[in-house]
Point group: C2
Chain length 233, copies 2
Amino acid sequence: MTVVEKDQDRAEPAHGETAILEAARDLLVNRGVDGLSMRQVAEQVGVSATAIYHYFSGKQDLVNRVVLRAFERFGSYLRDAMAQHPEGSIERIEALGYAYLRFALENQEYYRVMFHIHPEQRDSLEALPDGGGYDLLRQAVVDAVAAGTIRGQRGSGDADLTLSQDAYPDTLAMYLWSTVHGLVTLALCGATDHCNIGGPASVFSLYEAFTPFIAEGIVVPQHGNEAKKESNQ
Amino acid sequence: MTVVEKDQDRAEPAHGETAILEAARDLLVNRGVDGLSMRQVAEQVGVSATAIYHYFSGKQDLVNRVVLRAFERFGSYLRDAMAQHPEGSIERIEALGYAYLRFALENQEYYRVMFHIHPEQRDSLEALPDGGGYDLLRQAVVDAVAAGTIRGQRGSGDADLTLSQDAYPDTLAMYLWSTVHGLVTLALCGATDHCNIGGPASVFSLYEAFTPFIAEGIVVPQHGNEAKKESNQ
DNA sequence: CCCCGTAGGTTAACGGTGTTAGGTTAACGC
DNA sequence: GCGTTAACCTAACACCGTTAACCTACGGGG
């Protein structure tokens, strides 16, 4: 079983590890992480619950393996978005934000478990692909700074900051990540209902409304702040 | 028991509902929401597990009641911060952000359960004090706009937005909330380890580094963007 | 050929969980 | 005195993650 068949006879139901992972993924997506139980996974595969422990060390390990697949899927969302806009452009960064939102809304249970993990549960999640997507964002920021479309240094009068200037791309990437991640998590836990903005799926509208606030802070002011009239498709 | 004693003889251990709530709070803070079990709460109170069901409809209800207290505590953090800076000032809004971070870091398990709630579990959480803190932020934004310290309208060339101009304070408040909430949740799930910035408790440094990005978007540009040299204490 | 190790399961059980059903006891109003 | 009700109790149900012990088929080495 450790030797995988050449994905030729894929019509027959998957065996062992693969089948367990697929069943776990289905349960996690449909019923959430608390609705995913060893016994239900086993039943769906057609096997006893303890058989799972031959492939995974426990429930946490099983969930982590599913989460790892989710992060790969996540990365594909981001990469697709990046591929559609030139390197160093603001549009690429904006598109990354949209892709982030799209993934989160289309894979809510994935997203919840991906970013709900307590530090002590990370274990088998140390090495995420693309640093959990962060590397892609950081690279886009670095490119945009190099291209001159994004401010290459800090704002006015902040020479005494505790973070060194070397950390600038990380700081900016974390800022962007925080904004979009905060929006998503607030929306997913229903906090957007408190404000008088809109019904469900107003997340994209909100993000659209954020961009001027973000842009006029990160776009270089000297050559034309009028340059982004109708950038986002 | 429904009639509360006049908080005079508070030396004796609390009875009934109060004792249960306190035990539940302790367990939630120390062991997290999954470590909070009916039986352990009951044992700590010195009562059988099913006795809890006389005061609370179930575990979710019990947790929600604890969360409600947490939101009151949360509100006191925010109000204290607001009281130390004049109405309409940027400093007040900055201080709100700091207070938000301080609460989240000093009450991590509270924070986790406060903002991890699935929509279907809200039930007894419909009416949060101060709209879960959002009302305070929104008011600070409205005041700052009225005082002229914050941009009173959208940025350049966005007349065709889906959100109406009436929603401007909500949009800006949600933007600020998203940023700080995103930062906190990323830090709490260990995502800040991916970036090359700093060890733990670098959250405040990061927030400090964010403020120029945020400010140069929301501070009015015409009369002096140099005005915030050493604002935060 | 036999024997042994291993992959891939099995059943039974332990201690834990939230929750329900039904019974008991004490206090209080009429 | 009597009925009601608050405030508990024990027993039990149906789950949960996990462990221990056992079984079975198969493949390779002596």
